[in-house]
Symmetry: D2
Subunit: 294 residues, 4 copies
């Protein structure tokens, strides 16, 4: 894969180059990219995606149907015949759909056929990060939907596919960052002096430990965001490990010899590297919560 | 270490054997074991420990002070001179206190001296599962306490040490078990068909994956407890991994390409293998909680 | 309103009486009731509603469209002209739509017109428990949807209307009940001896305090469910008040003079009186959670 | 009660006036106020209280024992004989201890006697906001403690009494404020356009509705803190009501006819009017959490 295009470069392109660059993010449907040309330039992938999504959402139903049907079956004939677009080939490969066993292939074919017979269009699922198991669960669940609901769902999935494709084509804006906050709900106060380790589990950049922190008096990371900007804050899966056991030992909580909570892991995915992700921990000696905050 | 004594065996022992078996769990203080002789036999380590704890708690303060001072300094002169009881030697070794650097040793010596000068007794911490860092944080925090509070804290720590020692000497009653429950707080219903993996991270028995489950319609594990009885349900650290991503995909939630939550790990410690541990998950697509339930 | 028909009575009815009884729950569309006749008898409103919903969901789109358009505008011409069905009249009245000011009426008319112009069918919202404000927020939000999404949403709302109408026509099965559980996440154990008061805020039956409880050693209500069966456990809004302050005082937590948490209210709605509602509290001195459990 | 003294006024006082003003906050023990004279002036009640607390905590045990015993029995002989300090009289009266029935009086007397016989000092509990029931539960729980633990607990309670007395004598610094934040954990984003009402349930200032808010795009209150400064942000009990039902209706969640959550109340106490209280809501359609944040 060639190195990503910057938003600055994209802004300078003429229409033909713009289409050549991002025209493929909606499968076989360069009209989507064309329809946002007069909103260019875009200062973020987020705003470009929003514009493209808007163009699709406000298109008439026939055009959406054509967009849906511009996609190949998952693990279908096009794949077997080597006729996928480069994007679809890579995505299906990442989900393991290019190495199905014979019986798995038959199962997929049967599901695809049932689905098309019931709804009149192909099944679409953003598969880049999905396993075969996820894809099959999703297939079975969605076969029970009404046609309209499925139509909507396919369009939703197409927007996700486009988003993930944009992220491989363009370099994100430098705006994203990751913050943390730890609160002690037994003591009703920020958890200070708690040790936190941050690992990248998968995604762009170094895998493994990428930061070690100690919370300040407000329960936040000294020195600002844990990750910041498009070099550090990349799409992927991350893991905090919070040393909750040591914290409550310091607070004088009467923990067990083998404490219920000691090193608490939080594994979370970053999908939009231009955004702010706040991933806090609320903890007491015997329970905790986390959530995507703001 | 010799193999653990069963509670049935303990029940048949005469007084001298009983004391020989459990007299050492309160350091150099066989009087504690003696004072529970007429409450024998015990049907669980839990009830034996409760009786011994009761004997200590109702003893006069001079006797508690003697009990505290029957303990060696952590990483202190007794350790250097090789004069620790077998139990203390093992515990200090597990916490890495037998391999301190020279400067760490000096730091411990200084803390021990300050502590004894301030309070008039030795610093006690149940160290079997603690790291050097935990011990030092605890030391610093507790130096700020009042004498009375520290006296109480030392007795509390001694009870924990006794508990952990009982668990190495005796085989637990066969009553403990582990259960799970998954609720979907976005949908307001049990999370069905969620895949869950259970691993033992450390402790007695096989390390690694020890169970794979799928939740039933009530969000619980089909087939009853995940672990049951003193062969399976041992002191140690465990980890659930909940496949939250697949569940919400199946529910039709519009997850991101890289979902915020996919495989959610919960790491928890089992301290009392005779007890029921209920460790549930409450989840929505962007947040979750856990706690020790019942 | 006449008194509700029992499920036993419904089971004995001939087809004409069955249709006369439940044929109106889908507005002006007795075909829905007709299509479940051969699945009768039903042992619960839940199963009857499920069958009727299934008949609608599997109907062709034209038939669903006709069903949608069988509904009157909210606060629309039919209402002004006094041409609503008895059911619609009562529902719109409960939401205050029969006493709109002139400017509110104009606002509704404008929204209705815009909506119909955009989607080609009428706006439907289950309004029995909604305020004017809710209805307007919903109107504005839904005007942004695609036609297909709105079509699906209208059908969803129609199912809710049918559910609420069934509940006024039939007496629920005697299967519903309400339970509670209180866990102390600071102590890692059930919260025992906590005082709880249960009030009915609105709905069928006595309004005000309808139960006082104290939790047992497992943190549950002594004596089983708080409410049980179709005489006690009625559709409506309820409120637990948990005396969390006294509990933590008893536990020796060092609460403030004015504790952060003292009497914790949880207000929750019961929509299906045939179901089990488990409404627990997870609390620590400075935080709590609740959720619909199972 | 005379109007509170400002911190500015306190700063200008000579030693005798300072003692006259705050010497009584530690019952019959002006030495506590004397010992902080050379740390004056104080810019907040918080820092004055911290200094006084430090003086007590570092005093020798005999002096702490004398301080404990400088307090009257709760509902004891001094109360009956009219010999209480003005402060104690007011506090005991607010807790209803001046209107005990004969049998309640006997119960208190018996508990007081048992307690003094066991520990050698009087039972102390900060009672201003406690009910008779709380006081009795606390009495029973604490009778089971060891003498040392009770000694510590009495000193802790005395610090709370002092805090509450300082708040009646002095006007707080103008630094406190109340903030809010609402997160939608089903959608993984701030909950925007949510209506929130704030009431004062008890405490200083207007009782009833004192603010109405709508969350902004970040889920926070437009216009900054909900309450700010010592005129608005007073010691007392407050209640948020969050219109969660309307919010999720707007988000297109398929709520029940009688939604599980509609108007969610959070009742919380403000103990330190000089502090920042952050009281957020994390909500999904079927569950929510709150906690004291920062």
């Amino acid at each position: 894969m060639s190195s990503p295009v910057t938003l600055a470069d994209l802004a300078k392109m003429d229409n033909a180059d713009f289409i050549a660059t991002v025209g493929g993010v909606y499968e076989n449907s360069p009209w989507v990219a064309e329809s946002v040309l007069n909103s260019a330039p875009f200062d973020s992938i987020t705003s470009l995606h929003k514009a493209m999504k808007g163009a699709v959402d406000s298109a008439p139903e026939e055009k959406k149907l054509a967009l849906i049907n511009a996609h190949p079956d998952l693990a279908g004939k096009a794949a077997l015949a080597g006729e996928l677009t480069a994007e679809s080939k890579e995505e299906q490969g990442k989900a393991g759909l290019d190495t199905l066993t014979q019986s798995e292939l038959e199962h997929f074919t049967k599901m695809n056929d049932e689905y098309k017979a019931k709804f009149g269009f192909v099944f679409i699922l953003a598969v880049r990060n999905a396993t075969k198991h996820t894809i099959l669960s999703s297939f079975e669940a969605r076969l029970k939907n009404t046609r309209m609901k499925e139509f909507e769902e396919c369009v939703t999935q197409i927007h996700k596919i486009a988003w993930m494709r944009l992220l491989t084509v363009l370099e994100p804006a430098d705006t994203g960052f990751l913050t943390c906050h730890v609160l002690d709900t037994a003591g009703g106060k920020p958890a200070d002096k708690m040790k936190i380790v941050l690992k990248r589990v998968s995604g762009g950049g170094k895998i493994g430990v990428i930061g070690e922190f100690v919370t300040n008096d407000d329960g936040r990371l000294t020195g600002g965001p844990a990750l910041k900007g498009n070099k550090e804050f990349t799409v992927g899966v991350y893991e905090w490990t919070f040393n909750v056991g040591d914290y409550f030992a310091k607070e004088g909580s009467s923990l067990a010899g083998t404490p219920f909570l000691s090193n608490v892991p939080l594994v979370f995915g970053i999908d939009n590297p231009e955004d702010h992700y706040h991933v806090p921990l609320l903890c007491s000696p015997y329970g905790y919560s986390t959530y995507r905050g703001s």
